[in-house]
């Protein structure tokens, strides 16, 4: 063993940030790989959200309880029938190139650009019947039917406002501004040094008083987990966002007195790690098999040993941090191998010669031998204890997505985001209407239940929150009883930041809302 403190201190000599010496107040963040573009809706991934969250803003902001607050919209109202939403925009907002931000930009973003590029926006915006612009700073959305997740779908990561004067009438995919984006946010794009960093500079004309709190943000390319960990320990980088840090060394960073660890920065996405069974095939079509699977796997172990505590056992399709989660109605499946064996016996899946009952494949998510491989190896081992002979398959990304999209699997792995409202993030996996061959991230399992098919639309169009809650409670009851999916655990990715910064995480959308509020501690 070597003395870790000396070692890390040693490395600080190489990795400290002399740029601070130049007198500028800088945030050093990192990116795990270089983004393909900086056009927010064109590639709505976490890396882009982290960067573009500082550049592009949305109409609303959300608090920890997912309640909307004004942002680019000065105020907003909803009609009692839930069909009309009226937004008054701020009139003091300028794009980074100096053009004023107006209703035209909102209409362009919500009616044209976002639905075309961002599949996640399309669902919500397809509810819009028409948009009216009574004046330069007012937008009125009229919906076809009530959709109570409408406001939530205006969260920055789903609906960033894009500049109409830059994009309108151009080919969005090839627009040169994709590499030098224009927004209204607290930081503007300054420089992209390929293979090294992307620099954002302070937006001097930012509308929010007192912001931004720093002069610049550097997103430094840090492709390997070891490199990222050392960079955090030495202070070369101030912020490590979700999954930047390998869970194995989380405890070590968490113990570092110079660092703050947050596990609530991604509640807005609300990710659940699941395994999906191809319910078209026997025995996966049998509820008892799925229940036995759940009983056979010690999900506490997954959280503790594999995720090193960063997470929570998932019992419901709706994450425990999101609205509508109802713990009372859930059927839970605690770790109980005996129960699992009994269920398998009951359904007639008796052990054959060699002690195994059934052989099937678990298709992993390609993560280069990372967490999923570990999860898979543990689950394989746990299943073999109850007589299920699972073999792991490690396809590359395209193969994984193609096979899952074409339903060529027994069991696959997935992480899905609930995005704050089941109508946005959850229903897509259970609706019969969303069984679409060839399209990844749909109802791949082939789960189909008429009652569920009826309840989801009713819940989404309920005008009163109470009515929606009733529907969602019933849905959670049905889905967990059916074991409609193998929910493993809710992911709580850690965000680490240096104590020299403060106000890093301000809401459930975490860094995707931008780092405008960040200032020196």
């Amino acid at each position: 063993m070597f003395d870790r403190r000396t070692a890390m201190g040693a490395m600080a000599g190489f990795l400290s940030a002399p740029a601070a010496a130049q007198g500028r107040r800088i945030i050093n963040a990192m990116m795990t790989d270089e983004p393909p573009t900086l056009c927010y809706p064109l590639n709505n991934t976490r890396v882009i959200q982290q960067i573009c969250g500082n550049i592009n803003e949305s109409l609303l902001r959300f608090d920890w309880q997912f309640r909307p607050h004004p942002n680019l919209a000065r105020s907003f109202t909803m009609s009692p029938d839930g069909l009309t939403y009226n937004f008054r925009l701020r009139d003091d907002v300028l794009w980074h190139d100096g053009a004023p931000f107006t209703a035209r930009d909102v209409v362009f973003s919500c009616a044209t650009m976002l639905p075309q590029l961002n599949p996640r926006s399309r669902n919500a915006f397809s509810q819009i019947d028409r948009m009216d612009v009574p004046d330069r700073h007012t937008v009125v959305f009229r919906l076809k039917r009530p959709f109570n997740a409408f406001l939530l779908s205006l969260m920055a990561s789903s609906a960033p406002m894009m500049p109409a004067h830059v994009y309108e009438g151009t080919d969005f995919r090839t627009n040169p501004f994709n590499f030098k984006p224009i927004g209204t946010g607290p930081y503007r794009f300054a420089e992209w040094k390929r293979g090294q960093y992307i620099q954002l500079a302070r937006n001097e004309r930012y509308w929010k008083p007192g912001q931004p709190g720093m002069d610049a943000i550097y997103f430094r390319l840090c492709p390997t987990p070891e490199q990222r960990m050392v960079a955090m320990e030495t202070g070369a980088v101030d912020i490590a966002m979700a999954d930047d840090i390998d869970t194995v060394v989380n405890s070590r960073l968490a113990a570092n007195p110079r660092l703050v660890a947050r596990t609530d920065a991604y509640n807005g996405t609300g990710e659940i790690a699941v395994m999906e069974l191809n319910q078209r095939r026997w025995p996966f079509s049998d509820r008892r098999f799925r229940a036995a699977f759940m009983h056979a796997v010690d999900r506490e172990f997954l959280v503790k040993a594999i995720n090193f505590g960063l997470g929570k056992v998932a019992h419901s399709p709706i994450p425990s941090t999101a609205p509508y989660h109802d713990d009372k109605v859930l059927t839970k499946y605690p770790y109980d191998p005996n129960r699992a064996r009994a269920l398998l016996d009951e359904m007639g899946l008796k052990p054959k010669a060699g002690g195994m009952r059934h052989r099937f494949g678990i298709m992993l998510i390609p993560d280069g031998g990372g967490t999923w491989t570990r999860v898979g190896q543990y689950v394989k081992q746990a299943l073999s204890d109850v007589g299920l002979d699972a073999y792991l398959e490690a396809p590359d990304w395209p193969t994984q997505l193609r096979r899952s999209g074409n339903w060529e699997f027994d069991c696959d792995c997935n992480i899905y985001g609930a995005y704050g409202d089941p109508a946005i993030g959850t229903s897509r996996f259970f609706l019969t209407s969303n069984i679409r061959k060839g399209v990844p991230l749909t109802n791949l399992q082939g789960y189909s239940n008429p009652e569920v098919d009826a309840l989801f639309p009713r819940a989404a169009s309920a005008v009163s929150p109470a009515e929606a809650q009733v529907c969602y409670s019933r849905l959670q009851q049905i889905l967990t009883h059916d074991v409609a999916m193998l929910w493993l655990y809710e992911r709580k990715p850690a965000l680490f930041h240096n104590r020299r910064l403060t106000d890093v995480v301000m809401g459930p959308n975490g860094p995707a809302d931008g780092l405008g509020a960040v200032r020196p501690a």
């Binding site: 063993m1 040993a305 031998g369 190896q377 081992q381």
Partner: protein, 275 residues
Amino acid sequence: MMRSVRLFFAKPATIVAFAVFVAIVVIALAAPLLFARGPFTIVGMPLLPPGAPGLLAGSDVLGRDMAVGLAYGARISLLVGIASSIGAVGIGILFGAVAGYYGGLVDELLMRVTEFFQIIPSFVLLMVLVAFLQPSLGATVIGIALVSWPQVARVVRGEFLSLKAREFVQAARTLGMRDSRIILTQILPNALPPILVVGSMMVGSAILTESALSFLGLGDPNLLSWGSMIGGSRSAMWVAWWTTVLPGLAIMATVLSLNFISDRLNDALNPRRQR
């Protein structure tokens, strides 16, 4: 023959290398008997250091016994090393013999193919092959054999080219022997020593290649190999050195002993030393 054996064991280092190799083979063969529950069984807390109760080599990031993993890893390394070398040597002999003996168009074609393999970065090609075939033991073996046979083919071709000009081969032709017989009974036995040496060197390099693939996450996820042990604990290296150091030493010991053996084989089978 006896002379070769004697020459082979002439140096004490060879005896050590041979002993190490035999020990590794024995461990690999005995692993299922010694550790019946397999390498994936979780036996305790993660990242326990070597010497912890019952854990000779510590535990890994999942709390699995490293010693068991090392023993089972030997199976994968040796299996992949030997199987892919046999494959490569087989293909290489076939093409090399035909090209070297007949020359002409076949030879020209083979040379172009080996040139292609020389020009394309073979490890990248291998990654592509394995990724496309889907990582599995079979894919690894096939992939390694496919990218390494040209090397054998070149050696075989060279041997055949020089041997076919030797007078005893010409004599065989004047005696009216058929080509297939000449290749099999006259040339091949004489070309075997260098093929054997290349083959044994190849086992070592195949083991290294396999470990590299597994390290990059392109190995069979159902099997624990030394490379995947290292790859799976890359980050843990900072908190638990044994998770990466021990499997690396295991690879090194295996390949080193193999290289010593093939080096001595080279000396022992070298016709210049014989006679």
